[in-house]
Structures are given as structure tokens and as C-alpha cells.
């Protein structure tokens, strides 16, 4: 009988991690190299399913976004595109149009976003370039998003990059506390990189950034800058500066483009995997499997008052 607790523990140690197994995303190295210093992506988008109406606005997942599932030729993965502030007057007409677009293929642009928020279950994987069967709902298992969308079917919606009225974003300590705990196990060969990571969340975070230098131009005209992240005037919430990315033409990018070292901004942002750091790490460890803290960066949606 004395073996029972031990056997129970043994079973726990083998079964528990398997139930919480990480999901795997396999990206082509060429894709990583192309997009690691870009903020946005342009692609065709086969619309499989559009959420009948934008999410309500409140807190957490009630963020006012409109979700569309599908796939894109440039991306080669299951994709969910999300329009920010979808219920706002400026986007309303477009949102209503999208709702009737199931099955159509349109031109789509927006911030690319790799994030393990809705990964395939049971430790499953998604590989770039494999066929993407049509989805029957707006939120299929996916690791790749175009979020926020900047242009839909030729119509620019850069103005949607703004504060979400009445929405309560995650506070910096909660959101970044979770981001900083995430890890990734990475394996790269000559052509592709596999990223294993745990399910993540905490989409929208409100925080303060202090620029580490002048913003640099991203490869697509956006802005990139390293910044310390603060919860309030003096409390940092990350172990090192994190990269902030700004989409060209947004009011947020306009606000920081002439910023300099030490300037502070109160912002709303969403996290995504930092492909530049993934590329950096795989170049250091060619052909090896290694585990690192998940490299992430923040897509800044709005500079807040």
C-alpha cells in the first residue's frame, strides 16, 4: 500500500505535463527573415467565417474586436484577422460589409501576430505551407493572426488604431507578469524553425514605456524602439527592455516618431512573438534544440492620454 502514493505521483508526473503539452508552430526561415523587422503583412485572405458582430466591450476578451477566420497565400497558416474598434462609427460600414463576405477572397493588410493564444489542442502543431482547410467558425485553433487589421479589401482602417472606449485592458503587472513567465523551445534547421510554447493570453495591456533611444525605421516603414516597461511612474515589470512596434500611418507612430531616449508614453498594446529574437537565437544555435524565455514584443495600438 505504501507504493500507492508514489505510483500516484509517478502517474501525475507523466500525465500532467502531457495534458498541458506545448503547441508547436513551424515557420519557414525565409518568412522569419522577411518579417522579423516588419510590423505588418500584406496578403490575400480567403474569408471562411466572420463573427456575426464585434465582441462586446468590457474587460479581458470583451475587447470590441471583430474576428474573421481564413487563410492567406503569403501566410500559409490558419489565420484569424481582427479589426480593432470594430463597432466604432469609422469602421462600422466596413464591419457590416465583412459580415457578408464569407467565402470571398480579399486583400488584407495588418500587423502580423504570432501568439499562442488559441493554439491547436493536445500538443498539436501547425506548419507553414500546409493546406489550410476552411473553418466553420471565426475562432479555429490558430497561432497566426493579422491583428490589428490596417486595410481590408482595399479600404484603409488605420484610424481603428485608437483607444478602445470603455474597455478595461489588463494592467501592466498582470499582463507582463504572465508574458515574462512564458518559455519557448526552439528547433531550427536550414529551412524552418519550430517554436514550442505554452498557451498564452492577456491580449490588451495598458502600460508606460520609456524609450531606450530614437525609434528606428522598420523594413515596412513602421517604427521599432526598445523601451523599459513600467506599471506606474517608477515600477518596471520586465526583466529587460522590450521591443515596441508601431504601424506606419497610425496616430501612435506619429506620436513617437520624434521621440528620444528617456521619453515616456502611456500606451495600449498587444503582445506578439518577436521573430527578430527568434532569428537571433537560432543563428546562435544552428541545428540545436534549446529553451529560452519566449521572446515577445508589443504592437502598440494607441498612445493614451
Amino acid at each position: 500500500m505504501k507504493f500507492l502514493p508514489a505510483a500516484g505521483s509517478a502517474l501525475l508526473i507523466v500525465v500532467l505535463p502531457l495534458t498541458a503539452a506545448a503547441s508547436t508552430l513551424v515557420l519557414k526561415n525565409a518568412f522569419i527573415e522577411k518579417f522579423k523587422n516588419r510590423v505588418t503583412i500584406d496578403s490575400s485572405f480567403r474569408i471562411d467565417h466572420v463573427l456575426p458582430k464585434p465582441h462586446p466591450i468590457g474587460s479581458g476578451g470583451d475587447d470590441g474586436d471583430l474576428h474573421m477566420s481564413g487563410s492567406g497565400d503569403t501566410i500559409g497558416l490558419p489565420v484569424v484577422a481582427e479589426i480593432v474598434n470594430a463597432g466604432a462609427a469609422s469602421q462600422l460600414a466596413l464591419t457590416q460589409k465583412a459580415e457578408g463576405d464569407d467565402g470571398k477572397t480579399v486583400k488584407l493588410s495588418g500587423a502580423w501576430r504570432v501568439w499562442f493564444e488559441h493554439p491547436p489542442g493536445n500538443g498539436g502543431s501547425q506548419t507553414q505551407g500546409e493546406a489550410v482547410p476552411p473553418s466553420d467558425n471565426s475562432n479555429p485553433p490558430h497561432v497566426f493572426e493579422v491583428h490589428p487589421v490596417t486595410s481590408f479589401d482595399g479600404t484603409s482602417i488605420l484610424k481603428s488604431f485608437d483607444q478602445i472606449p470603455k474597455y478595461m485592458a489588463y494592467d501592466a503587472a498582470t499582463a507582463f507578469g504572465e508574458y515574462e513567465k512564458l518559455t519557448a523551445t526552439i528547433t531550427a534547421n536550414a529551412s524552418a524553425t519550430a517554436i514550442d510554447s505554452q498557451k498564452a493570453g492577456h491580449n490588451y495591456a495598458e502600460f508606460i514605456i520609456e524609450l531606450g533611444g530614437k525609434p528606428a525605421a522598420a523594413d515596412d516603414g513602421g517604427l521599432l524602439v526598445l523601451a523599459q516597461v513600467f506599471q506606474d511612474e517608477e515600477t518596471t515589470v520586465t526583466s529587460a527592455p522590450r521591443r515596441m512596434v508601431f504601424t506606419a500611418g497610425t496616430s501612435a507612430a506619429d506620436a513617437v516618431k520624434s521621440g528620444k531616449k528617456g521619453d515616456r508614453f502611456h500606451v495600449l498594446g498587444i503582445p506578439r512573438v518577436n521573430l527578430e529574437r527568434i532569428s537571433f537565437a537560432t543563428h546562435q544555435n544552428p541545428g540545436k534544440t534549446f529553451t529560452v524565455p519566449l521572446p515577445y514584443e508589443m504592437v502598440i495600438v494607441a498612445v493614451l492620454p
Binding site: 536550414a190 529551412s191 517608477e234 540545436k288 529560452v292
Partner: protein
Amino acid sequence: MFNSTVLDVAIGLAFLYLLLGLMCTTVNEWIAGVMKLRAKNLELGIRRLLTAPSDGTQLIRPVDLKNAGKLLVELATGTGELTAFIRSQFDDANKALITSYVAGETPTPAMVTAVCAELNKQVQNKDLFTESRFPQRSMAVDQIKKQLQTGQVAATNRKLLEDAYPDMIGTLTDDFYGHPLIKSLIPINDVKGSAAPGQAHPSYVPARTFALAVMDIVIKGQQGPTDFKTLLRGIQAMPDSDVKLSLLALMQNIDAEVPGALATAQARIEGWFNDAMDRVSGAYKRRTQVLTVIVAVLITIASNADTVQIANKLFISPALRDTVVAAARERAAGPKPLSDIEYTDPTDPKPSLPVDAAGSRDTGEITSKQRELLGQFSGWANEFRVFNQMVNKTTAGESAYDCVAGRSTTPECAAALKKADMAGDSFPGLQLVTQYTVTPVWLWYVVPMHLVGWLLSAIAISLGAPFWFDTLNRFMNIRAAGKSPDEAPKGAEKKVA
């Protein structure tokens, strides 16, 4: 049920699996290095890409003729001993075809077939080699003779013919691996400053290097700036083959007049290579997974890592459990594994080149303290003690093990026990073989007792060290939610002056 004891047992198991997983990774890497698995796998992929599918023989095919016209002229009119010998063996029909070739014209398929037939006659000729026929050779005479004696006639003769007619016979793959850009990727022996012994090919070729080497081979190493038209002419001049068709297909729709046409061609060749390597890496992963399971089983049995017994030891001994959890905490909180990915310059969000941060890496080594800890949970000491007890018998034939089990106090039993105690838990060595009546009984005692535990351990170890590192961190995070008061508060916050 899910109390801290169970969690600590789980942490202890995850930690020990991590250490055993690191051992498994080290052994795997060593085997992959010794057997050159990566290099062989890459070569297989590149050969498939640059050569027509192998027919399983060493026969020379039309695609292997790098310059059929030059070879026809050489065989028809050459004065070398080898050439004269090959010519003397010609069939009449082939001789007529070969000698009818006019230098400068494109050889007809019949002529090419005739040349291949004559060369293949020599590929299979076990008496082809003499030192005087092959003054130019890349193999030593002893090696050639040894290969011929061991039946490797076709492979040896083909290589000899390639050496004799280097610019006329060969494959694009051989040219590729002989290219300086590729040869420079072969690991260097740090001590001698030469290529590592036996390492013929690199185990990693970047797509860009692949494309540059292929393009240079196609334009035949032409020096100075080149352009897309030169590359296209080079491809069109290649012998008919799948490679030529593939390269021509890749070049379709590239406008030679547009600036950047050559860069586009290079990018397409890189993409072609990347797609092929995706398939190769999938096959390699499947092969190494099998190797990982085998190594995990061997490590499990060699170290007698029995999950059930380890868990039991952890469960019943709070002191041991605390020691392991402390060591696990130390490992989990140690330097980040393998790579430091933080930016080094806060003003540069897109550094151009990665900087090697080897100094900050966790090398995956197991410390002596961790080895000692492993020794407390695994090993064969108890089982060897039982074996030594089974071997030492009383005059009546009763083993010391029987005496222990029967709690006997007879003088004979006491003497046998004393003898067994002197042997202690030492490795029985050859006795495992010579005591052929005892060994099966001992195995019958050992194997059923550990089978389930070994199975669990082998499965766990084969999941790999990175998996257990993540799991250990996950368990540590759960534990931190109910941490003891003496532990430092964990928080992301830190004050910045």
C-alpha cells in the same frame, strides 16, 4: 490530494528526468556526431536535389557526363594508356557511333548512350585497375586494392574513371561538395587546423551558400561580375537531367533586363533548397526519435532509474525530498538555458548580426552535486547486494539470500551472510556470466520488480531535457503560488532609480 508533498515529489521526478534527459541528449549528440548523421542526412537530401534518382548502382548515366562532346573526342582519338585500353574494348557498333562524332557539334543521344555503355563495361571490369592506367587518382593504391578485393568493384572503378576524366565524368553533387564555399563549412579540427578526421561533408549548409555554390558551378566558376543571362546560358548548357529541368523551371518568368534578375534567381534557388530541406529534416527527426527512445531505454536500465522506486524514495523521505527540491529550484533559477536572447544595445531594436553569447549559456552540464543526487535515486547497488547474497551459499546449499529471507540464525547461514556482507554491493563482474544457475534467478527477481518503473522512466526521458525543463518551471510556478515564508518574494517588479 494535491498537497505540497505530491507536488514536491512531482518536482523531484521532473528534476531527475531533466538530468537523465540531459544525459540522453549528450549520448544522442555523441552518436549523431560519430556516425555523422546530420552530414549524411544533408548529403542524402542534396544528392536527391542535384542528381537524378539513384538507380542503386554505380553505373554512369548520360546525366553524369559533364562534357559528353569532349569525352567522345578523347575516347576516339586520345593516346593515354587508359583511353587506348577502353577503345580496344569497344563493340563495333558503339565504335562506329563514337568515332563518327564531329568535335564542336552536339552529341546525339545514341552517341551518349554508346559512350555510357562502353564506360559501364569498364565500371564492372574487375581487372581495370593498374597503376600505370590511372596516374591521376584520389585514392591510395592500397585502398583501391582493398576495395576491389572486398567486392566494391563498381564503386571503385567509377571513382577511378571520374578521377581520370575529371572534367568529363561526375555529378553536380560531387562538384557541389568540392566547391570551396561548401568545403569551408566542414568543421575544422581546432588542434591541427585541418578538416576533422573522416568529416567529408558539412552537417549544415545555409540556403544562401547552397544557391551561390550551385550558381558558381553552373557558370563554371567564371570570375568577375556575372549576370542573369550568363547564369541562364550556363543552365541551358548543362546535360539533360532533372536538375537542369528544375533550374530552368525556377528561372521561368524572370525578366533578364530587369535590375535584380540575378538576385531573384538566387532567391528562387534558395527557396528550392529550403523546400527540399523541409522534407529532409522531417526524415531526420523521425530517425533521431527512434535513436532517442533506444538511448533512453539504455540509460534507464544502465542507471536503474525506476520511476516507481524514485517516487517512493521521494515520498517517504522528507529530507531527501527537500534536498532534491532545493537542487531543482537552483537549476530552474540558474542561467537561462543555452541562449541569452536579450538585446545588448538598448538603442538598437534591429541589430544586423547575431552576437554569440556563448558565455551566458547553460551548457547543459550536470554538476557533481547533481550527479551525487542522481546516485541516491538510481543505481544497481541493492540489486548487486542481492546477487552477492544469492551466490554465497551454506554447505547445505542454502543461499545467504535465503538465510536473510528465512531469518535463519544457524552458524552456516551466519557464515554465508558474513561472506556475502564482505562482497557488499560491489559489481559481481564475470560472476554474472559464470554463475549461470544464479543469474536467471536474480534476473527473475530484478526485472519484474523494475519493469513498470523502467517503462515510465524510459518514456519520460525520451521526451527530452527541454520538455522537462519547461515542466520543472511549470511545477515551480505552481509551487511558488504557495511558497514558504522563507523564500524570497517572486515578482517582476523592481525599482528603477
